[in-house]
């Protein structure tokens, strides 16, 4: 759910950052989006960029999301776009799997006498899934890091 109250500050942060990218990349962002951001930003919000330490630049999470979206849609190379989209497809598959596990219609109508047994099984399964997920998660982290190390 987009937090609309915070968006004017988000727009200001996004604008202050993107106006410093090379002209070629700035022009890749659709003019309508830039117009919207410029029109709606909180002009009184003072946001300063530490150009010497940009990797630790303070920014709102929504600012990061918008910039991540810009990177994916307008700035990434074809190879980077392919990897990001593959990652997004994977995320969607994992999400669907989780939903299926949670709302499996077979479990909904399972006999009450076996309810206690099922609970124990699920706990064990969940624990196993968490451990399994962490390993996968570490792999995904490496995968994403690699996207930015190769251009």
């Amino acid at each position: 759910m987009v937090n609309q109250k915070i968006m004017p500050k988000v727009y200001k942060e996004v604008y202050e950052i993107v106006k410093h990218v090379p002209e070629e990349d700035f022009n890749k962002i659709p003019k309508e989006i830039l117009e919207k951001i410029h029109a709606e930003m909180d002009k009184e919000y003072e946001y300063y960029i530490d150009f010497d330490n940009f990797q630790n630049q303070e920014m709102l999470y929504e600012t990061q999301l918008i910039l991540a979206m810009f990177f994916r849609d307008y700035w990434a190379t074809e190879e980077q776009k392919r990897k990001i989209k593959a990652k997004e497809r994977y995320d969607e598959q994992v999400n669907q799997e989780n939903l299926r596990e949670q709302y499996n219609p077979n479990d909904l109508f399972h006999n009450k006498r076996n309810h206690h047994e099922i609970k124990i099984e699920n706990v064990n399964t969940e624990t196993a899934m968490v451990e399994y997920k962490e390993n996968i998660f570490q792999k995904i982290q490496k995968f994403i890091k690699n996207i930015f190390n190769k251009k």
Partner: protein, 180 residues
């Protein structure tokens, strides 16, 4: 600050009209309070320009005619029909004649003539492409650095897609408003 806004409000209403809302930053309020002048709208020349875009139109008119001595003015304009002063931008020539850059006739103007520094600030606040051109000459940020900095958010597919849909809806609303 509220004191200065009130002083400006009283000054403007002493000229005419019934109401003026002042919400601008302190810097602007002080400039208007200390250096504001009154202009008669009856002599104003109505130039071509889209409605509701006084700043953009005034900037464009200025850029086209600055060599002829045209300057930009900012402040407030009064329409006696409803008695309301509104924030406004317009141009004036060497003779002090107002050039109104929207299709609406105003009765009275109160504001300042922008000097070189103020004009540059105004231009950068209105024209974001120009602002970006100036900004990247001062300091630049590579898109790769932005990608690295936002790497955590890259993983948030749901968040990105939600924002993407939100923007898409906003742009569609904007385009509908323009009659596209």
């Amino acid at each position: 600050m509220e004191d200065k806004r009130k002083q400006l409000q009283e000054k403007i209403l002493s000229i005419g009209g019934k109401v003026v809302h002042i919400t601008h930053p302190e810097e602007y309020v002080e400039e208007w309070l200390d250096n504001g002048e009154v202009y008669d709208g009856n002599n104003a020349v109505i130039e071509e320009g889209a409605p509701m875009l006084c700043e953009e139109n005034s900037l464009n008119f200025y850029l086209k005619h600055k060599d002829e001595g045209i300057k930009i003015c900012t402040g407030f304009a009064l329409n006696n029909d409803h008695g309301m002063w509104v924030y406004h931008a317009w141009c004036k020539d060497k003779e002090g004649i107002v050039h109104e850059c929207t299709p609406v006739k105003r009765d009275v103007y109160y504001g300042i003539t922008l000097d070189e520094r103020q004009t540059e600030r105004f231009r950068r606040s209105v024209d974001f492409a120009y602002d970006a051109e100036c900004a990247r000459k001062e300091k630049s940020i590579s898109t790769t650095d932005i990608g690295k900095r936002t790497y955590e958010a890259q993983k948030d597919t749901k968040g990105k897609n939600e924002l993407g849909e939100y923007f898409k809806a906003l742009i569609e609303k904007m385009e509908k408003g323009r009659g596209k």
